[in-house]
Amino acid sequence: MEHRIGVFVCHCGTNIAGVVDVKRVAEELAKYPGVAYSTDYLYMCSDPGQNLVKDAIKEHGLTGVVVSACSPTLHEATFRRAGAAADLNQYRVEMANIREHCSWVHRGDKEMATEKAIKIIKTMIEKVKQNEALEPISVPMTHRAMVVGAGIAGIQAALDIANAGHDVVLVEKEPSVGGHMAQLSETFPTLDCSQCILTPKMVEVSQHPRIKLLTYCEIDDVSGYVGNFKVRIKKKAAYVNRDVCNGCGLCIEKCPAKTASEFDEGLSERKAIYTPFAQAVPNQPVLDRDHCIYFESGKCGVCQKVCPVDAIDYEQKDEFLDEEVGAIIVATGFDLYPIVNIGEYGGGDIKDVVTSLQFERLLSASGPTGGVVRRPSDGEIPKEVVFLTCVGSRDPEGHMPYCSKVCCMYLTKHAMLYKHNEHDGQAYVFYMDVRTPGKDYEEFYQRAAEEDDVLYIRGKVSKLFEEDGKVMVWGVDTLTGQKVEIAADMVVLGLAMVPSATATELAKMLKIQMNQWGFYSEAHPKLRPVESLAPGFYLAGAAQGPKDIPEVVAQASAAASKVCALFAEKEYHREPIVAWIDEDECAGCRICISVCPYDAIEFDDEKEVARVQEAICEGCGARIAACPSATAQQRNLTDDQLYMMVSAALED
């Protein structure tokens, strides 16, 4: 076949053209063997740019196209679509990355950058020359989604998908849905009551005909691929028969064993058989065997005796359920950075130094103090309350380097609500910067300072310690250059947000990426913020990075709509750039089976050859490198192609 390749060199404004001599590149490549057309343009991805490609394909009868511009992760799909619109098989359109790989990294050296751009493009021309015309692989798809984590993120995502007409399995590890939002008192910037806006949604997920709610459950194993996941779920033994229990709560009332309440962050006690909070959904208790007298000594058994419907079952075992789904949204949320790590603030040993979530519970009308702020040590109402920002955040030396994004706002809210509670009291906020980047947030902060007399002090506190029943605060005001000392009644720590404890384990099981701190990574920080790079996985909420409720909800809805878009097709279409094997040549050594990370290779025992399951293969190339007889090849990335590409790059 005669090659008629088109080369389209993009300026990307000055991003490329400011460094690479794009005109010269286009001219040079016009002379390259097989190139029938070569040109440059200001923005190739724009409408006129794409039309340029389409028209050239038709006019010059192009057999392949190389768009020399940015990274394929950004615009490969764009230009493939343009090619297809002009009846060129989309897999005969390639991108040569002369931005990230060239102009951005060689800013100072125009000559070298230009030479390098030419080489990069030549390699792609060589590739395109041998590209086969392929069609996407079609795979059947289960139109059913799973959402892991039922905080506000998971709840919102599940509702949106279910309301769009798809079934959803919602998995939550705790006995109730709601996540951290259920613990909050009132929410910035409008100060509406958190429970009031959340509980209707909690009830809705539990009653929605399309949502299967699995609380007190964990993901045990995941296999399969986008459109066809098989998930094994562990239903933890609750020692309460959930089919029978009517939620009367008699067992809770009579249980004699107590332990610290997780929901109240240790500020109150719960029973061994419990629901985390009064509005829990579902409203059925679970029995915590670590604190149950029966499990410790075989005595008690009170709950079983009092239960009117005979729901208590001490013999209950963990159960396993298998669910098939087409897409998975991970919404496992956050935890607070452990206070024990902050030795200079007492590491949790100073009673009246509380975490921000503890303070939420003290402010909450349903909290342990009925919404009156009382200090833990003696139950007194504090008169001097100090709030510390960036505790464990923005601290690359000792803790987390990133900004936790919500603490400036919630501490302002705390100070404000405390003042609404206690007009005579004084609230101080030590800050480095007050970050209020949200709609109506800055106004909220100003209101705290102006109307509630919250005193903002610019400086980071060095040490907290107990002295004469007070918490001594050693701070500084960098604006006046003085050390500041406050004998506080209570101190609230705006602790950093970190990924929830099980996030890393889950990520490994799902094979999705995280950043170094354990937040799930999005496929592209700007353009694909709610997808994981691994196909079929979507991200929502604080599990992907610190964020507040409005942002969490927006992201959850976005992830839901991505799932719905996936489900809009009957089948799933995937990239055909996968491995294939010449059955006549395969020696049947099975080496490739051992290296494939996706279990995509099956072995035909009759013919004694390996066979690729195209629906599963991710095209990672591992087996191709491993195959000793070189019979395994990657479509459109064959050894021949690679050889020609390398040759083109090395040519003078």
């Binding site: 030795g343 590491g347 040490k463 002295e467 004469d468």
Partner: protein, 303 residues
């Protein structure tokens, strides 16, 4: 068991009580502190600037001496410990400084030939610098210490004062958690004392500022002392002669300045250990202390 021991100038001269008590305790625990046959001042401060190799030589030289006796060297004074440990780290991690320092050491061996200081091999950080308290924990073992006790210190409320030099800089010292250290608490518990945890245990006593301006240092010391006093400590222990000087000797000035100032004895930790090990009071020597600890100890029937 013999362990190479670097006393340093202060324990050799003005803090003889500390040196004696520590040796006696070691003996009672079956360890002989074997003083380096040759040693010099460590320099007392780790170099102020990064541009000098000369400034770490004092520390390195002593480590090199120690390397001829074994793979460990034990020291007591916080300043010596700080200088030796940090110099050792420089030698281990900074190749250029290591080479230069060794050239200097070789040059000096000629002059010191009569002191038998000939170095057979380069000093590359092969010696482990141990504080005496680390020796008690890691070489002797606190459990063995516990078994050797003759007198119970039960009911004696002791506040352990760490000061600065043992703990900081944390990446170089790697001694204990710099905010909430526990090694001396564990030690005191081994002795059966009531440990008084006080928030100023790792705050500065004023250090060498006592030489420039007493007021500055005394203000610091007073903050430390009053924090321990407020928590009803009977006495404070330390491992630094300068801390002891600021905290104990300067109580005379504090008493003059502050009405109703309560005095509190400050002693070396090995003096307390000595009491628990049943060592004769004479060998522990409390004669130098401004605030005599004996009344407090006598009150608990310990002396």
């Amino acid at each position: 068991m013999k362990i190479p021991y670097y006393p340093g100038c202060t324990l050799h001269e003005r803090a003889l009580d500390f040196d004696m008590a520590s040796r006696e305790c070691a003996n009672a625990l079956g360890v002989e502190l074997e003083e380096l046959p040759v040693w010099t001042c460590c320099g007392a401060v780790f170099p102020l600037t990064t541009d000098s190799v000369m400034d770490i030589l004092a520390g390195v030289r002593n480590l090199a001496y120690a390397s001829r006796m074994g793979d460990k060297v034990v020291t007591l004074c916080s300043f010596c410990y700080n200088v030796l440990k940090r110099s050792n780290k420089v030698i281990r991690e900074d190749e250029e400084k290591r080479e230069k320092a060794n050239l200097f050491l070789k040059a000096d061996t000629d002059e010191r030939a009569e002191m038998e200081s000939y170095l057979e091999q380069d000093y590359v950080g092969q010696v482990e610098v141990l504080h005496y308290i680390e020796m008690l924990r890691d070489v002797v073992g606190f459990d063995k210490v516990a078994k050797s006790l003759k007198t119970s210190l039960k009911g004696l409320r002791v506040a352990p004062y760490y000061g600065c030099m043992l703990l900081r800089p944390k990446k170089e010292m790697e001694f204990d958690d710099p905010e909430r250290p526990t090694i001396f608490e564990d030690f005191l518990e081994t002795l059966g004392c009531d440990v008084v945890d006080f928030p100023m245990k790792a705050e500065c006593c004023g250090g060498f500022q006592i030489v420039r301006d007493e007021e500055t240092a005394i203000a610091c010391s007073q903050t430390v002392l009053s924090s321990a006093i407020k928590r009803d400590a009977d006495l404070i222990i330390t491992t630094c002669p300068l801390c002891l000087y600021n905290l104990d000797r300067k109580q005379k000035e504090m008493a003059k300045r502050v009405k109703g100032f309560t005095k509190i004895p400050v002693i070396y930790f090995t003096q307390l250990l000595g009491i628990a090990l049943g060592i004769d009071e004479e060998h522990l020597d409390f004669s130098d202390n401004y605030v005599d600890p004996r009344p407090v100890l006598a009150g608990k029937k310990l002396v």
